[in-house]
């Protein structure tokens, strides 16, 4: 390069550079965030990793001459290169990938299609549909698995056959072997999980679509582009970041899930990496379980990396500009009645039915007896009859329920808001730091807790924070055992991936010009964030909040270790009722949980949308 004359000395330039880095609050915040993330995420991960290299006392019996706590390759060798590897790792891993890819493809397709119909088309009954569309995510996946079985269950595995099977038997079809692959195994699992996880795509893509100015599409239309071409060349690229975020969430969740695979896979011995992980964990083979979790984290990190590459290599499309936008709906034309009809059927079967079944079951005195005399509201409002439920009163008269309700509400609201807030800030960093080292780092770090098994995560946090945390003799964090603060830290960190994904795809759409304009006008970082970034990102904020809120509401494994006997929550109460052989009361609790989530979602939807429209119009 040609030698240039420098008006400033090298030293002065360096000093200016350092000053501008240090005095920029953005850099300071990024630094703090990375330190915190390393502390809260990398440390636990390291703890897990080091556990897999330490010989446990219980495995001394398998390693002759070993000593507990010493360094060992026993677990990794056993997992990766032993005669057990195929049945313990390879086969389940292939099954996991099958489920992961299958669910991702189906859920992205379904979620995007629904989001487009709901946001961009002139579909009728939109207020109803947009509420209904999110219900599947609020229903626990085991409820859906049971609903699936109650329809397709075959007589081979005993118990009461499903609806289809009993119809076939009545029609004289005795050979029902063809039902087996539908009732259990990968196909069933993919369908049920798709019905659960399309909500991620729907929430993220619809938030992105909402902010697309339809002028872009209209321009193309004026130029003579057809509907398909507009969709392919304009709409799709604009929502691609949101869709890719959804792919990551869906794929990782699908390979990490356990309940549905247990219900629908067990009868045909279909096992995945996640079921192996749970089995090992429940068999006290903690080290092997951790090793499997680490492999799953590695797979997911790879998918995040690929995603970064995909988005990083293409141009950025900022859709939220300074100008006011309009949203003109696209006519479905002759397809309108047909699509409406299909959606109505879909919601009736896939969404309303499981809810109705749940409600009916909560009002049955004895399980499985369908008669009017069996109808009761005891489990809801009963005063305590020694013959029913061992004398425990119905949930609304039970002080335990009220306590759990209060705790759950506190937990979900505080953590939902805190988690979303941090998620948006981290999302902002991922978006603004895209292609840079710190952006990639934050994006990867934030994602790790997603795949650390909840029990392990909760356990490690319990250990970390039960003692005061200090560095060089200076106490930084007091002992948090038994405090609400510990519950908050754990749930917020565990759910950061949701919030920050929502934040990233959201922030990527906000044009940098807006901030630059404010910067020229002299607005500092905080002012810009509060006055510009935050108001424009409300839609993403709300979808991020919903994702966390719903997830924390259902959380049991994560917080059961951290809660004390007196800080019970609704999922814990449901678990207890289930244990006491009282599924009806358990269903009542599930319905209450569902209602809260639904109510919050409805409110967010109504007020959120109204606000969003206003801020966009101005």
């Amino acid at each position: 390069m040609k030698e240039q004359t420098r008006p400033y000395s090298r030293g002065r330039r360096l000093k200016n550079q350092i000053m501008s880095v240090i005095t920029n609050p953005y850099n300071v915040i990024v630094l703090i965030a990375i330190i915190l993330l390393v502390y809260l995420i990398v440390l636990p991960l390291f703890d897990m990793l080091s556990t897999t290299f330490k010989l446990a006392q219980r495995d001394l019996r398998a390693v002759p001459g070993g000593q507990a706590g010493e360094f060992t390759l026993y677990y990794w060798q056993r997992l990766l290169a032993s005669k057990l590897s195929y049945s313990m790792l390879i086969k389940p891993l292939l099954n996991s990938l099958l489920i992961g890819f299958g669910v991702s493809v189906c859920a992205i397709a379904l979620g995007s299609a629904l989001a487009w119909l709901m946001v961009r088309s002139d579909l009728p009954f939109k207020p109803f549909f947009s509420l209904a569309v999110i219900i599947p995510y609020m229903i626990p996946s085991w409820v859906k698995s049971q609903a699936w079985l109650s329809i397709f269950k075959t007589p081979r595995i005993g118990g009461a056959p499903g609806f289809v099977s009993s119809m076939l038997t009545k029609m004289g079809v005795t050979n029902q072997a063809f039902l087996e692959p539908i009732a259990y195994g990968p196909v069933a699992i993919i369908i049920v999980l798709t019905l659960h996880y399309y909500a991620y795509t729907y929430l993220l893509v619809s938030a992105a679509l909402n902010s697309v100015n339809s002028e872009l599409e209209e321009m193309a239309e004026i130029k003579g582009a057809g509907k398909a071409m507009i969709l392919r060349k304009i709409t799709l690229p604009l929502v691609l970041p949101a869709m890719l975020s959804a792919v990551i969430l869906t794929f990782s969740k699908a390979i990490g899930t356990f309940g549905t695979i247990n219900y629908l896979g067990s009868p045909v011995d279909f096992r995945t990496l996640s079921s192996q992980l749970y089995s090992n964990s429940k068999s006290q083979n903690t080290q092997t379980a951790f090793a499997m979790a680490i492999l799953m984290i590695a797979i997911a990190s790879l998918s995040v990396f690929i995603n970064q590459r995909l988005i990083g290599s293409r141009k950025s499309y900022a859709t939220i500009g300074g100008k006011g936008g309009r949203s003109t709906l696209i006519g479905l034309g002759k397809w309108r009645p047909l699509i409406t009809f299909i959606l109505l059927i879909f919601f009736a079967v896939g969404i309303i039915m499981p809810v109705v079944i749940l409600i009916i079951e909560s009002c049955m005195l004895v399980e499985g007896t369908y008669s009017f005399s069996n109808f009761t509201l005891y489990y809801w409002i009963g005063a305590g009859n020694p013959d029913i439920m061992e004398g425990v009163p119905g949930i609304f008269r039970n002080s335990n329920f009220m306590l759990a309700l209060t705790n759950s509400l506190k937990l979900t609201f505080v953590n939902g808001i805190a988690g979303t807030f941090f998620g948006q800030i981290l999302g902002y960093m991922c978006a603004k730091g895209r292609g840079k080292f710190h952006g990639g780092l934050v994006e990867q770090l934030v994602f790790i807790p997603y795949l650390i098994p909840s029990v392990a995560f909760g356990g490690i946090y319990l250990s970390m924070f039960s003692k005061p945390q200090s560095i060089f003799g200076v106490q930084l964090v007091p002992a948090l055992y038994g405090t609400f603060a510990l519950l908050t830290v754990t749930s917020v960190v565990k759910h950061l991936p949701f919030a920050s994904r929502a934040g990233t795809s959201n922030m990527m759409q906000i044009s940098g010009e807006l901030e630059e304009a404010a910067m020229i006008k002299g607005a500092g970082f905080f002012k810009r964030f509060i006055k510009i970034v935050f108001p424009l990102s409300k839609g993403g904020f709300i979808s991020g909040f919903m994702l966390i809120f719903v997830s924390i509401m259902k959380e049991l494994d994560l917080i059961i270790l951290i809660m004390t006997p007196k800080t019970s929550t609704l999922p814990y109460l449901a678990f207890q009722y289930q244990n006491q052989n009282c599924p009806q009361a358990s269903n009542c609790v599930a319905i209450v949980m569902f209602s809260i989530v639904f109510l919050v979602y409805a409110l967010a939807n109504i007020f959120g949308d109204a606000d969003l429209a206003k801020s966009m119009a101005g």
């Binding site: 703890d47 080091s50 006392q57 219980r58 495995d59 001394l60 019996r61 398998a62 000593q67 507990a68 706590g69 005669k83 057990l84 049945s87 313990m88 007589p155 081979r156 595995i157 005993g158 118990g159 009461a160 247990n262 219900y263 067990s266 009868p267 011995d269 192996q276 749970y278 089995s279 964990s281 429940k282 068999s283 006290q284 004895v366 399980e367 499985g368 007896t369 061992e390 029990v455 356990g459 319990l462 250990s463 039960s466 003692k467 055992y481 038994g482 494994d557 059961i560 270790l561 004390t564 006997p565 007196k566 207890q576 244990n579 006491q580 052989n581």
Partner: protein, 387 residues
């Protein structure tokens, strides 16, 4: 990371040996709590409990712990009992993490020692203590109290559908399960899935159980059992043949029971399930009965009580353990919640629940904590290898 834990682990074997000798110097807590003293009376402990904080926390794998707590508080006014119902895996994780962090929350733990690890890891390392109230133990067969403070016994039993087989069980000898007729018609939980089923299959491969299985085979078919090359004894051979018969794995023990017990089935399966499902049968309208399998139904699962090292309420903890075990004054209200169908008392002076088959009449394998513990991983890996 935790030096105390590592040291404790290093000393594990040594401690097992020295514990037998029991001539060791007591720790400060052992001294203060008098954990080895089983001769205090309820009244003495009650007074001490009131002085030491008047509260006691119970971690239990049974949902019935809530009732126990209520009964305890009714009997001992002024004492608070905080029950926490939690499943095995989480209980162990929670209690060890809290212990390592110096948070003495749980005083008493109720759990099953299914694979011997409670005794050989927790008791041997001085994390849990087997409190031995002398008077109560005099009513219990010493074979149960060697490695445990036993509460009650549960079994893994084979169930059949009584509506489809009104003349009695289609299976009486355990080897019949390996016949082609039952291929794909046996429900159970996958032994890989948790500690209790893993321990249960281990039970068939250790002690004198393989010999009993081999004898039962000969009795049924009139010829000696030939072992497959990979099977070391009749226990492994039984597991291999059972696995070859493609059992249907259920997601939970309840599901196993439901699969067998649902009325109106044309060709119902038979299935292994926890004996405690018996108490749910009437409520759920299940039509099933347990089989007194020959030579036996496998190892029992003994529910056991432990007092946690360093706990702050040792007197109340002892009082609670005594109360749950049925006490000494004839008032068995602490044991009553556990005395149901499918659970058998260990005390000779407590009658089992009405309608129970006496435990002595049931064919059950012997339980040796050491044998199960040493072989557990081998047998689990064997099952994993099968596919």
């Amino acid at each position: 990371m935790n030096i105390r834990k590592i040291l404790a682990a290093l000393l594990a074997l040594m401690m097992v040996l020295t514990m037998a000798a029991s001539a060791e110097a007591l720790t400060a807590w052992e001294e203060a709590s008098g954990i080895y003293n089983g001769d205090e009376t309820d009244e003495e402990l009650y007074q001490k409990a009131l002085e030491e904080g008047a509260t006691v926390t119970l971690y239990s794998i049974s949902s019935r712990c809530g009732k126990v707590a209520d009964a305890f508080m009714a009997k001992y006014p002024g004492l608070e009992c905080v029950p926490f119902d939690i499943s095995t895996n989480e209980l162990l994780e929670k209690v060890t993490r809290e212990y390592d962090a110096g948070q003495h929350v749980a005083d008493v733990v109720h759990i099953k020692d299914q694979d011997g690890s409670m005794y050989l890891e927790y008791v041997a390392n001085g994390i849990f203590y087997n409190y031995k109230p002398t008077e109560i133990l005099s009513h219990i067969d010493p074979s149960y109290t060697e490695t445990a403070t036993p509460l009650y016994i549960e079994l893994t039993q084979l169930f059949y559908n009584t509506e489809a087989y009104p003349d009695g069980s289609p299976i009486t000898n355990i080897w019949q399960l390996t016949e082609p007729e039952w291929k794909g018609r046996i429900t159970m939980q996958n032994p890989l899935d948790n500690l209790s089923w893993g321990s249960w299959i281990t039970g068939f491969c250790v002690g004198d159980e393989p010999d009993r299985l081999a004898a039962a085979y000969e009795e049924l078919y009139g010829e000696a059992l030939t072992l497959s090359p990979e099977c070391e004894n009749a226990g492994y051979e039984f597991l291999k043949r059972l696995h070859d018969n493609q059992p249907i794995y259920c997601a939970s023990s309840d599901e196993c029971a439901e699969a067998v017990g649902t009325p109106g089935q044309e060709n119902p399966p038979v299935g292994f399930s926890a004996s405690s499902k018996l108490r749910k049968a009437v409520d759920n309208g299940w039509v099933f009965a347990p089989v007194n399998l020959y030579p036996d139904t496998g190892i029992p699962a003994v529910n056991t009580l432990y007092i946690v090292e360093g706990c702050e309420h040792p007197a109340a903890a002892k009082l609670l353990v005594r109360f749950m075990m049925g006490g000494t004054d004839g008032d068995t209200s602490g044991y009553k919640p556990f005395n149901t169908l499918g659970g058998w008392p260990v005390r000779d002076d407590i009658e089992p629940a009405e309608g129970s088959v006496p435990y002595a009449e049931l064919n059950v394998a012997g339980f040796d904590a050491n044998e199960i513990y040493v072989n557990y991983n081998l047998v689990r890996d064997f099952w994993q290898m099968l596919g």
